[in-house]
């Protein structure tokens, strides 16, 4: 994304080339142009631009993509952690 970049080497995005059928759907849905298509297979060309929205994974017809998507703000994550610790029931207050 022009003018903006976030931390490098953190995204959980994984592509299983063997499963890919080259339909191009992941290129269509990704708002950050993370994928390209080469020789009828998707490849990750812009890994660090991935914001883990999950669009590619849910729309891949052959489940070739994995990404851990979910809340991405500090308050949301704190609530999630509190919830995991089962200290008290957290209220989700994101966007």
């Amino acid at each position: 994304m022009k003018g903006f970049s976030y931390l490098r080497n953190v995204a959980t995005l994984k592509l299983n080339i063997k499963k890919c059928i080259g339909c191009g759907r992941c290129l269509e849905v990704c708002p950050h142009q993370v994928f390209s298509l080469a020789e009828k297979k998707a490849i990750i060309t812009n890994f660090d631009a991935c914001m883990e929205c999950g669009a590619c994974a849910i729309n891949c017809p052959s489940t070739a993509i994995f990404v851990d998507s979910g809340v991405g703000c500090a308050t949301g994550l704190i609530n999630e952690w509190i919830h995991e610790q089962k200290m008290f029931s957290a209220r989700k207050k994101c966007c």
Binding site: M1, K2, G3, F4, S5, Y6, L7, R8, V10, A11, T12, R25, E28, V29, P31, H32, Q33, A49, C50, M51, E52, C53, G54, A55, I58, N59, P61, D68, S69, G70, V71, G72, C73, A74, T75, G76, L77, I78, K93, C94, C95
Partner: protein
């Protein structure tokens, strides 16, 4: 079939302003279902959107003089992007709404046009399997829909490029400030009482100013200056604007008169508060990843915590020594 107007009235505008400020945000919705824009026939395209009134208003206002079907999903008044993330703009809801609106009878084709930002919630191949409708994810912004139509329903690189302009950032800030109102009010009250008891009411007020400045620096200033602040880490960007506010406050409040402990405390705690709020802003941006925020938090939260604790120790030391 409800027919809808593509011109926005003054009330729509007023509603948008109120929503931007977070007033009744959750209740700002239109009934879900199928709507007709212009006089669409069975061959005209079907657009899908959320029942958040701002999404719906934006979509219909750009479609003046066109004939389009608009399928509005029940997202409980939440916008496309957040609804897709939360699972209300979903495969299930889309399939259900296609059935309820009798879409297969209304149109002859089997094609749906969805906003790109709805993709995290919808599995296109599943919708196709269950209803026969194939999905095209068209554009990120509603403004580009007319261009998409005129371009033979093909998405250009520009239509799928995410942006986060100064204006796009500005409109987010009022809601963020309002959301922080309650914790801020509680902290401010507590700070005032403690500082007033320790040093007198004048210091109480000064502490309140310093804290409010730190909140504004983290929620408003850093997000506005986002692309121009150095570094990739949001916490660091917030730390920088917080540091700038500490220095400004030092000059405004006659910092040379403070004892050294208070000065240290101010320069430790103000940037920490600001950094936290900027880190929290990652929830509003269209490019930060959850893993990135997690990493930042693991690094930044302990530093922020220690800064605040040290700040408190300095204040107490300044009082006792």
């Amino acid at each position: 079939m409800p027919q809808i107007d593509t011109k926005l009235s003054f009330y729509d505008f007023l509603g948008t302003c109120k929503t931007r400020l977070g007033i009744g945000r959750m209740n700002y919705m239109v009934p879900s279902g199928l709507y007709a824009i212009g006089a669409p026939t069975k061959d005209d395209p079907v657009l899908v959107t959320a029942n958040y009134k701002m999404s719906y208003d934006k979509v219909r206002s750009v479609l003046t003089a066109r004939n389009v079907w608009l399928l509005v999903l029940e997202t409980y008044g939440i916008n496309v992007w957040c609804a897709a993330g939360k699972g209300t703009f979903s495969t299930q809801e889309l399939v259900r709404r296609i059935g309820l609106s009798n879409l297969t009878k209304v149109v002859a084709h089997r094609r749906l046009i969805l906003p790109i930002l709805a993709a995290p919630g919808v599995a296109a191949h599943e919708v196709k399997r269950q209803t026969g409708f194939s999905i095209s994810y068209a554009t990120i912004r509603a403004e580009d829909i007319p261009k998409y139509f005129d371009n033979n329903m093909l998405t250009t690189a520009k239509m799928k490029e995410q942006t986060f302009t100064f204006r796009e950032r500005t409109v987010l800030i009022p809601v963020e400030l309002l959301l922080s109102l309650k914790p801020t009010a509680i902290t401010v009250a507590a700070l005032f009482i403690i500082a007033a008891l320790l040093q007198g009411p004048r210091y109480g007020l000064m502490t309140v100013y310093a804290y409010l400045g730190a909140v504004v620096s983290g929620i408003a200033i850093a997000p506005l200056l986002l692309p121009w602040l150095p570094g990739r880490s949001f916490a660091f960007k917030g730390f920088l604007t917080g540091l700038a506010w500490s220095a400004t406050f030092y000059l405004l409040a006659d910092g040379r008169e403070w004892n050294i402990f208070i000065t240290f405390a101010a320069f430790l705690t103000i940037p920490a508060v600001s950094a936290f709020y900027t880190l929290n802003f990652t929830g509003c941006t269209p490019f930060t990843s959850r893993s990135g925020v997690k990493k930042e938090m693991r690094l930044a939260m302990p530093v922020m915590g220690i800064s605040v604790i040290l700040g408190v120790i300095f204040v107490l030391a300044g009082k006792l020594l």
